[in-house]
């Protein structure tokens, strides 16, 4: 229902369900245009770097709503399996997942991860009117990944130590050879 007066235009309506959310634009001829975005509270910080974990270990994925926004009624977690977002249900697989939600924060603990668990996870803050989504990426690697740089550093340390000790031994042997050469009996000359 709109009310037009000389200086303003008022559009009053009730938000009934999710379909009422979206962008509303108010146009004044071709002089001015104002866009209103009507939405449930959105999760601000989205972590762009993936969370890394190791095969057999557990990992904790977190989502946080800013505390200056209304508290979500509940939280849901989804896994993206290539085609759609599949809701993670703790009741179905209690030995694999554990969801603990408290106010503005939620944590998904994935136990005993394997490489199949890699991928995108979505957390949804459930409000009465709609759910706001945010995503976080999980990357599962094996212990071999950091082992490669570690072993190369190990090799470098061994080579350095060996080189230093060998250099010192050859240096002192050379000095002894020099001393014995020209002065066969150094004690007598003194």
């Amino acid at each position: 229902m709109s009310q037009l007066s000389f200086l303003s235009l008022v559009f009053r309506f009730s938000i009934v369900n999710e379909e009422n959310l979206g962008n509303y634009t108010c146009v004044f001829g071709n002089v001015a245009e104002l866009v209103f975005i009507l939405a449930a509270p959105q999760i601000g910080e989205i972590r762009d770097k993936p969370i890394v974990s190791y095969v057999g270990d557990f990992v904790v994925l977190t989502c946080k709503m800013e505390e200056n926004k209304p508290t979500p009624n509940s939280w849901n977690w989804f896994k993206y399996n290539g085609t759609e977002k599949e809701q993670i249900s703790v009741a179905a697989e209690p030995h694999r997942y554990l969801i603990s939600s408290e106010g503005w924060k939620t944590k998904l603990k994935v136990k005993n991860v394997s490489e199949a668990d890699s991928g995108l996870y979505y957390c949804g803050a459930v409000y009465a009117i709609s759910t706001s989504l945010s995503h976080v990426e999980l990357k599962v690697i094996t212990i071999l990944e950091p082992l490669k740089p570690f072993l190369s550093i190990l090799v470098e340390v061994v080579i350095l130590v060996a080189a230093i000790l060998i250099y010192e031994r050859s240096h002192s042997k050379r000095k002894e050879a020099e001393a014995d050469g020209p002065n066969a009996d150094p004690m007598n000359t003194q």
Binding site: I51, L154, E168, K175, A179
Partner: protein
């Protein structure tokens, strides 16, 4: 002939150490090993966020890890010094490097917080303790005229490596998670073994233990030897006690700005970014301060102890000025005072170590440094909680900074009571007291002669060649 005899005599006494040559290689070794000890310790903050999330503990429980590590490093310093006196420095430092790497490697497999306390805290801390004091003492023993500069250059690594390690550790954690990052850090720490390998074994006048390994010694003699390795006799000397007390008082106030400056700046109203920038800038002037003060003191215009008092008085004054400048509301004033404070605190660090051989002589430096580290750790451990308590009770940081500055000034006052303080030239360093009986003294001379005879021959040959 007389020339070579004189030179070999001075080598035996150990009063004049050769400057330069292999000494500079040791400075590089100290640079690398100190950065891998303290630079690493200072950059562990990157891991704490990960630990809090993984182990689901609060920040205080996690911060115990680095507290235990630092405490272990300081507590085991006398042990490291004693082992170097008993055996040679090289195996001790290499063992220390191995232990510090091992601690981090084991920490990568931790499944609970206690594992981290034991591995990253105790084992790595023990390793760091076996590395730091011997490394510093060795570098100082290898220099006489350029001692302060060498030490300053070696310590500059701490500031530089904190700059480099923070982004590096962040990258490692993002690529390999904290487990992989700790594993790689353990590997990096093993490089300390290479630094230790550069220390050449030398014959020193602490030979008795090496000779009498076969014969069984009575308990009292063993105890006497252990005490001599630990240089416990130093605790009975007034100059050493005065100096240690002064350094402990410094430690009460020295760390306060590093811990509380950022919080204080935010409290006064500056932005997060501005506060962090002040800390980084103070870190840069800290590096300059260490090198410049070392170079300046080696020029010889002033006595090292007078320069130490100069830098500590200035540092104490600047600490007290920090809250005053920020209360005026000016960011530039706070920045200037912080830069000056950074310079003075770096300058006094070099001087604190350079004065040590003057107090106790070069031969006892190893044990003396170890004991000094242990005793001064009390100041560091108590100073920061005290300032935190003051802040909680008064509501702002003014009282904490004032108290910290006054502790530093009190330490300077204590230093003025050192003997021969007001003279213009350095007094001769004290000799270590003779604790061994005559038969041991004779065997000592023989051992020295045998061990050093090859060295003396080389010196003789070189002399005759010239």
């Amino acid at each position: 002939m007389t020339n070579s005899k004189l030179k070999s005599k001075s080598q035996g006494n150990g009063v004049e150490s050769p400057d330069g040559g292999w000494g500079w290689v040791l400075v590089v070794a100290m640079f690398v090993s100190t950065s891998l000890v303290f630079g690493l310790m200072r950059s562990l903050g990157v891991f704490f966020v990960e630990f809090v999330q993984y182990f689901e503990e609060n920040a205080q429980a996690i911060s115990w890890i680095s507290s235990i590590g630092l405490a272990a490093q300081q507590f085991f310093s006398p042990l490291g010094a004693a082992l170097c006196n008993a055996y040679n420095t090289r195996p001790v430092v290499m063992t220390g490097g191995f232990l510090s790497g091992l601690g981090l490697i084991l920490a990568s497999q931790a499944t609970c917080l206690v594992h981290l306390y034991l591995t990253m805290g105790v084992i790595s801390g023990l390793g760091w303790g076996l590395v730091f004091t011997p490394m510093v003492a060795t570098v100082m023993a290898n220099f006489t005229h350029r001692r302060a500069l060498a030490v300053g250059l070696g310590f500059s690594s701490i500031g530089l490596s904190s700059f480099a390690f923070n982004p590096l550790f962040q990258l490692l954690v993002e690529t390999y998670a904290w487990r992989g990052a700790l594993l790689i850090l353990g590997g990096l720490s093993l490089n300390i073994m290479a630094c230790g390998a550069l220390i050449r074994p030398e014959c020193r006048s602490k030979g008795p233990a090496k000779l009498d390994s076969q014969s069984r010694l009575p308990c009292s003699v063993m105890l006497q030897r252990v005490f001599s390795y630990l240089e416990v006799s130093l605790l009975c000397e007034r100059p050493y006690l005065t100096y240690t007390l002064g350094v402990t008082l410094f430690n009460f106030g020295y760390f306060v700005p590093y811990f509380h400056l950022v919080a204080h700046s935010r409290h006064v109203g500056f932005s997060e970014y501005g506060a962090a920038f002040i800390m980084s800038a103070a870190g840069v002037t800290d590096i300059f301060g260490r090198i410049v003060s070392g170079w300046f003191s080696d020029l010889g215009h002033f006595r090292v102890i007078h320069l130490l008092i100069l830098w500590t008085v200035l540092a104490g004054v600047f600490i007290m000025l920090l809250p005053v400048s920020s209360l005026m509301g000016s960011y530039s004033a706070l920045m200037v005072i912080s830069l000056l404070y950074g310079f003075c605190s770096g300058a006094l660090t070099s001087m604190v170590f350079a004065v040590v051989p003057m107090i106790m002589g070069v031969e006892r430096m190893m044990g003396g440094l170890g004991l000094l580290q242990l005793i001064e750790s009390c100041g560091g451990l108590l100073g920061t909680p005290l300032s935190g308590w003051l802040r909680d009770n008064t509501g702002n940081y003014v009282a904490s900074f004032m108290v910290a500055g006054s502790f530093v000034l009190l330490g300077s006052l204590t230093m003025t009571t050192l003997p021969h303080f007001f003279s213009c030239t350095d007094p001769p360093p004290p000799k270590r007291p003779v604790l061994i009986d005559n038969s041991d003294a004779l065997r000592l001379e023989l051992a020295q002669k045998n061990c050093c005879s090859s060295e003396m021959n080389h010196q003789a040959v070189e002399q005759t060649k010239r």
